[in-house]
Point group: C2
Chain length 289, copies 2
Amino acid sequence: MIIDGKGLSNQLDSGMKAEVKALRAAGIEPKLVVIIVGHDPASQIYVRNKHRKAIKLGITSIIERRPEDFSQADLLALIEQYNQDESVHGILVQLPLPKQIDESAVIRAIDLKKDVDGFSPENVGKLFSNSDEHYSVSCTPKGIMTMLTHYDIDPADKHAVIVGDSNIVGRPMGALLLNAGATVTYTHILTQDLSSYTRTADILIVATGVAHLIKATDIKPGATVIDVGMNRDENGKLVGDVDYDHAKTVAGAITPVPGGVGPMTITSLMQQTLELTKLANRKILETVR
Amino acid sequence: MIIDGKGLSNQLDSGMKAEVKALRAAGIEPKLVVIIVGHDPASQIYVRNKHRKAIKLGITSIIERRPEDFSQADLLALIEQYNQDESVHGILVQLPLPKQIDESAVIRAIDLKKDVDGFSPENVGKLFSNSDEHYSVSCTPKGIMTMLTHYDIDPADKHAVIVGDSNIVGRPMGALLLNAGATVTYTHILTQDLSSYTRTADILIVATGVAHLIKATDIKPGATVIDVGMNRDENGKLVGDVDYDHAKTVAGAITPVPGGVGPMTITSLMQQTLELTKLANRKILETVR
């Protein structure tokens, strides 16, 4: 089975469009601000794609572009301006940032109620503690959970193996799966005999940035394989961290690259923007109902 | 090898005593406030042991006892009083709390700079993101890391298996081990075929509250086994979650119960109280040097 992230993303769009329409009818304008500093080419593409999706759904999207030498103080001031602006529901600072800027200081500066990327320590802490309060979650892992749910793949009592323990994908992914009842193994660059772990995975999440790291022989027959990688091969073709052509003959379900995890990341960002919009306007929405 | 937590704890006491003496000579009085609501018998013992250890080290210890029917509003007001009190460096609210009180609201109320138990979402988030900023950590996992370091057991590239994924022990323990370079597997009540995981563990952490859950056959020969359990058996004897008498013949290193993890938990609390005292008095201490 091929897990069609692109198709699912399109399918979820119509629900979100209707939601935005209803919000606007209630006088609420969902608004996302994306701040990009410098000219990293991949970041430019990501920001453009987020902007396009927001426009498509009817979400107001503001892009704030700043030059490569923009100072940390000025960036913090810009964030604070949007923290104070009650018309804004989500603030995203595109990473990576130029080296003169301390990423963790920037992440902490974003108002928790507008942290649409879920990177602030308090949101991360709530995720890792399986809090019953509201928290935002990193968009890629959130999108993967949405795919699993949609394809009726229940992580409870399964063995989920995470390859790559980044703060943006691997770590929050493991926390979400643990919260959903999976047994979770985190592997990474220091892991000895990686395939001894991946071969026991019922759900295998690969997010390393190493093209074709995971071969068919690393996969348990019937497993669900989620490939977060986006790499260019020697011919300039976009490929994942999984050797898809061979892996798909072993896996029970697998995401392609492109068209798998990528579209769902942006969908999660939009879902989370709407969630934060609704939370900020709880009282108005209660009156409407 | 028997990992002697009690002995190590006593050994660390003398260093901490000297540290307290130096702080007091600089006009700084380390001060810990422990708040206990109700009359849970185990909590009474824990609070008494923490108080005794603090007194032994020269740390000023205040115990605030409140009745079982104490209200959440009054508890939050008491915490806020100590948040404002600059002479106090650590605030600990003994868990569990009576059912009329929302634990997470109480934990969030403690000033991050005084959260000596490391339970606040922001501290948890920093731990789980391997932040390079300061954060407090739950005391039992912190104590276990101190033991591993002291006994020259380096988690890097080892397989660490956590049995029991509580927010107080299992989850932060896994994060500390992951941050130290281990491959980490979280197992719990839903895990199928638990021993298939435990038998591959180079470092096995057991924190379930189930007496003698882990048998000798569940342990990889030569593994390090850390037993966080504190259970009473049918004869009223204190026993761990590991069948110690048999397990010690298989394990390479093992903690006894009592005398293993327990004393190190209180030692961590004292270390963390001193860390927060020094952070709060950075400027004075810089002048002294």
